[in-house]
Symmetry: C2
Subunit: 247 residues, 2 copies
Amino acid sequence: MNKIKLHISYDGTRYSGFQIQDNAPTIQGELEKALAVIYKQPVRVTGAGRTDAGVHARGQAAHYEAPFHIAVSNLPAALNAVLPGDIVITGAEAVPADFHARFQAKRKIYCYTIDRAPYPQVLLRLYSYHFPAALDLEAMRAGAKLLQGRHDFAAFQAAGSTVRDTVRTLYRVELQDLPRIQLLKLRFEGDGFLYKMVRLLTGSLLKLGQGKLAVKDLAAALEGCCPAAASPAAPPHGLCLEQVIYE
Amino acid sequence: MNKIKLHISYDGTRYSGFQIQDNAPTIQGELEKALAVIYKQPVRVTGAGRTDAGVHARGQAAHYEAPFHIAVSNLPAALNAVLPGDIVITGAEAVPADFHARFQAKRKIYCYTIDRAPYPQVLLRLYSYHFPAALDLEAMRAGAKLLQGRHDFAAFQAAGSTVRDTVRTLYRVELQDLPRIQLLKLRFEGDGFLYKMVRLLTGSLLKLGQGKLAVKDLAAALEGCCPAAASPAAPPHGLCLEQVIYE
């Protein structure tokens, strides 16, 4: 047995998220189908983390136990030949037997893309959230700064989540304003993310930008007093998992 | 009657080109359907030019005779509400009665996008041609320079075309190398384009870049001696009509 780490990119538009489900197309399901074709036997894949239905990835990671040796340099092309066009393996590497794509992931970087053009930019419509309203970027930057650091993000997880420890560290929350191409990108780098956390944070930053939320309310939400500040979640199609960082 | 000019963007992926056809989805067909809903009667649309099946547009133009007055500031939103999401009206303006979207178009700008990443960039796969082979950009730039100016482009039109005057002027043929995002963009600005001309020119420039064609063969093709230099056409999904320029 040898353990393989895959670098995976996908267009999440037509998938019910990363994690395998019965009767719904998922990234993990497609990966396991492709690996079964290559290895001629069932292969179980472990992802670095789930992404929700409709969320994209440029830099998802996963591992599996290879039943027999195939040169890692041949794996991406072999898998891409079998995978649907909206899932692309961009790299494969042999990793130590104790490597674990989820437990050993140290940081993740997500990017949320906002299309600020008056009408949707049609070639970006599947990968950005069209939000033409005026935004106070300085208020959003103040909010982004506040979010950075170690906080209890209990207010920023989807209702019904059962995670006990909701303390996470955001190393970076960054606004990149690109007026020439009418895009605003929000980058979140953290040691872990609760269910829908990035989309809820983005929704809150957009409320700040519209003056519908004050920075102090965001601060209160971080202290657990004001979960309402955290809604609504921005839609999934603007979100992309950019990178999973290992030691 | 008042004449309206529309600014149109579309994702050409699922369309059989701009021009209306029976039994196949087209941009013109969708526009005329949407206008019929808004105006409650048939409205005929005249585009600045056809785009082939699968070709995209950020800046297509068209005109129509409005059966009655609707404020142009309301037209984009009204039409977008009825159009499918992969066609977006980005502007509308009242134009003089003698305006003609095709006859008065002075220049068009096309952009062909080449994805040079080792494996396809999944979120760009519908809008770029994945071409990971090494390219001699200097040879391509020499070819681009040669193409600029007034030439007989008879060698660079699809077989079966019946256009008589095949002389066109290319004001600009420009390579934009973007190594950080692994894209190469080719921009063509000209007074008119023959059927498949941009895709055939792109195919030839890619052959130059691979050393499969010499600059002198390209020059010969421009003198009408070597139509073989012009093939094969690059695939449609990398091509986008960026702008139609009027006086």
